[in-house]
């Protein structure tokens, strides 16, 4: 089926070439990083994780959100999602690949990566993250590819596939839970030390992921012959609305506990992010943008008039995606490190090579996504 | 055969690429065991020279883990001699392979291997031989 990705019009090849160009630049920067070490990043002794691990966290959520299509379709036989499920699963595949690449570019000694398998250490959450992410990747590749094959041949998917599909539902929840556990179990890091973290991760992911998927599908509808049932859009919009509402609610829960208790360790991270400390204020505009985007998106999503309107819905989806990114791709990691456990403020901001490596990794994800979507679209088109 | 005009040249290119190491080596000088210089005071290595030639990495690997992970540093060989399990302080000491460039590096260079040991383990400055 892969050969279908080799047939396309000029715009298709132009898009592929653009992605390859970004991948090339990112790869060049990565070679520079391999040669010079992580000294070329904005990371420091106090802020030892940054943009890369932030993107890993955000993309795990995007990957997990495929379950928001898989679950209604396979468990509740919700037919409107029928043709769209495959796009959710392929988005998950590309997102997990992106996650794994972000882990690799973050390592100081990437050639020793296999030590994680050669010396398995079950006490480490990072070990389990590796296990669940790889498992989820294989599940989605196998499921997506086999289902597509069945569509191509015009037969129902094999029975053994059902088992894998059901397995993929809790597995999706597990990947984001384990990723939250990377942060939520560290003494002294009060910003993360929160049993709500995994739950709020899932809530924001189940809003941001379907938002991204819908936005991508709107683009696909424009450039290819994809028909998205109106009912499917509306149902997804409702899922996003509920998930985003829960997410914003959980932000409120955290704020209550932190500020009513006046727990100094808990307050410091939030204070730094939303109000700054002395001259350390670089995150403040981002955070208030997050608040603005989160609340406006919430209003647009809750009001049926704006939710049912294509233009306002699109705006709301973009807002959810961007707000989710500020919250998880940026603030989550930085807020956990600044200030450090003994109240020293060392700020972090990514450097240009770091940003280009990040863009390059995302370009690889988009390339995989493009190829998989091209195959899926061609197969679906032929079968109808 | 369908598309034979594409498949056969493709196959030829593939076979050519896969066999690259073989034909690129044609006409080059054959492998010769490099001449190693040993101006050591010591005449005996930790283990028999024959075994060391083939397995020194295994010995170093054992030493590495025993020292770092098991806190064991003393090695007594069958002849009853004691050694400090240390690459820098034993192997590269002035009595033995202090001349890394003419001992370790010669083989490693000829065989095109570059062990990363020296990224951390310090090579002592070549001792000045007094006339």
């Amino acid at each position: 089926m892969l050969e279908k990705a080799l047939q396309g019009n000029k715009a298709y090849w132009g898009w592929i070439a653009t992605l390859l160009a970004f991948i090339g630049v990112g790869f060049g920067c990565y070679m520079y990083q391999l040669n010079q070490g992580l000294a070329i990043t904005g990371l420091s002794r106090d802020v030892s994780w940054g943009l890369y691990i932030g993107q890993l966290t955000y993309m795990v959520g995007i990957a997990a959100s495929a379950v928001m299509l898989v679950l209604p379709y396979y468990l509740h036989n919700y037919k409107a999602f029928g043709k769209l499920v495959i796009f959710g699963e392929f988005l998950a595949v590309s997102a997990v690949v992106v996650c794994l690449l972000f882990v690799i570019v973050d390592l100081g000694q990437p050639q020793r990566l296999l030590n994680v398998i050669l010396h398995p250490t079950p006490s480490s959450v990072l070990f389990w993250d590796m296990v669940v992410l790889n498992g989820y990747l294989f599940l989605n590749i196998i499921i997506g590819w086999s289902v597509l094959h069945a569509v191509k041949k015009g037969v129902p998917p094999a029975n053994w596939l059902k088992f894998l599909i059901y397995l993929s539902i809790p597995w999706a929840v597990s990947i984001h839970t384990v990723t939250a556990f990377l942060y939520a179990g560290l003494p002294g890091r009060y910003f993360w030390l929160d049993s709500l973290l995994a739950a709020s991760f899932l809530a924001s992911a189940f809003a941001a992921g379907p938002s991204l998927l819908l936005l991508i599908l709107f683009v696909v509808r424009r450039v290819a012959n994809l028909e998205i049932p109106k009912e499917a859009i509306q149902t997804m919009a409702k899922i996003i609305t509920y998930a985003w509402t829960i997410n914003v609610f959980m932000v409120g829960l955290k704020i209550f506990t932190i500020y009513y208790s006046q727990h100094p360790g808990k307050m410091l991270g939030f204070d730094y992010l939303y109000f700054g400390y002395e001259d350390y204020t670089q995150m403040v505009p981002w955070m208030w943008n997050f608040v603005f985007l989160a609340l406006v998106a919430l209003a647009l999503l809750i009001h049926p008039g704006t939710r049912n309107n294509q233009t306002t819905l699109t705006i709301a989806l973009v807002m959810v995606f961007v707000a989710g990114w500020i919250d998880k791709g940026l603030a989550l990691v930085i807020g956990g490190f600044v200030p450090n456990p003994f109240k020293v403020y060392t700020e972090y901001w990514p450097t240009i090579p770091e940003v280009f490596i990040t863009i390059g990794v995302y370009a690889i994800g988009l390339l995989i996504l493009t190829i998989l979507y091209k195959v899926a679209l061609s197969v679906q088109e032929e079968s109808t | 055969m369908y598309d034979g005009n594409k498949i056969i040249p493709g196959l030829i290119i593939f076979v050519g690429l896969v066999t690259f190491p073989f034909w690129s080596n044609i006409g080059r000088a054959a492998y010769e065991r490099p001449e190693l210089k040993l101006d050591a005071v010591e005449t005996e290595c930790v283990e028999p020279a024959e075994w060391m030639r083939a397995e020194h990495m295994r010995l170093l690997d054992d030493w590495r883990d025993l020292v770092v992970r098991d806190n064991m540093r003393l090695y007594v060989n069958q002849a009853g001699r004691s050694f400090d399990m240390s690459l820098t302080n034993t192997c590269l000491s002035s009595g033995c392979h202090a001349n890394k460039a003419e001992f370790c590096d010669r083989c490693h260079a000829t065989l095109a291997v570059s062990p990363s040991c020296w990224d951390c383990h310090v090579v002592p400055p070549t001792p000045i031989v007094e006339e």
């Binding site: 070490g37 030590n115 480490s124 003494p187 002294g188 | 992970r69 098991d70």
Partner: protein
């Protein structure tokens, strides 16, 4: 399960016998793993200092100025080839900080002026319940039975999760090749390579040779090192007699560096 060569050597070391009998046993358990060459004995040096639970006591009343602290820091950093890298990507094993940063639990506006401005030495706390060990995905950092939290630089993949886990900021990452930043390389000790994490090791290599840690030797008696497992040790005695603080005990990490105030 096959027994590998190192496990055998280790076992042989513990029983201090790997003669003919040991060899035969190894052949039985893991045929061919030993080849011809195997040691007669492996183990610790006879002069090694053995402890049940190593700990350090810092007599802060003797570190009133930077002079003695700096002497200890210099001794440590020179002996261990710790690079002198300026800026926020620095590497350090032993350094000083103010009272309120060393003891964030003990915040108090009305501290005596001399304590407020006094430099306190800080290093890895060699915790009993170390978060860095818990989070390491490869076992590159681990806790020895005698309480020393060790780093295996050969195994570290540079994920820096241990730095995230450590609430004391005791760990440094080699963001760049450290060698150009070492003024005088100590040829008896290793440097580190780019991309691995390092920290204080309580000078375990010196203990193995019967020596006290470098900083302790340089401290003119202000640093006391010893075995908490031994009732009669100097550290036990001094902790019995004088009031001491530990860093952030509320986190449950059980640090083993004690500060006499």
């Amino acid at each position: 399960m096959a027994l590998n060569r190192r496990s055998f050597l280790k076992a042989a070391g513990l029983t201090t016998l790997a003669g003919l009998g040991g060899h035969a046993a190894m052949e039985l358990l893991a045929p061919g793993a030993l080849d011809a060459a195997q040691p007669a004995k492996i183990g610790a040096f006879p002069e090694a200092l053995i402890g049940k639970r190593w700990a350090m006591v810092i007599d802060s009343t003797k570190f009133t100025s930077m002079r003695l602290s700096q002497k200890c820091i210099d001794a440590c950093h020179t002996a261990h080839n710790v690079p002198n890298i300026p800026g926020k990507q620095e590497v350090k094993w032993l350094w000083t900080d103010s009272f309120q940063r060393v003891f964030p639990d003990q915040r108090n506006e009305f501290l005596p002026v001399d304590i407020k401005h006094q430099p306190f030495l800080v290093l890895c706390n060699h915790c009993d319940n170390p978060p860095c060990v818990r989070v390491c995905p490869t076992g590159a950092t681990f806790r020895r039975e005698d309480g020393i939290v060790m780093m295996d630089m050969h195994r570290c993949i540079g994920c820096r999760y241990c730095m995230v886990g450590c609430p004391y900021g005791a760990r440094s990452f080699n963001f760049r090749d450290p060698r150009p930043f070492i003024a005088n390389i100590n040829h008896r000790y290793t440097t580190r390579m780019m991309g691995v994490v390092e920290k204080c090791t309580f000078c375990e290599d010196r203990l193995a040779r019967g020596l006290m840690p470098v900083c302790v030797e340089a401290s003119e008696g202000a640093l006391i090192f010893g075995d908490l497992g031994n009732q009669d040790s100097k550290v036990r005695k001094i902790l019995r007699e004088r009031f001491s603080l530990r860093r952030y005990p509320s986190l449950g990490t059980e640090p083993h560096v004690f500060y006499l105030i």
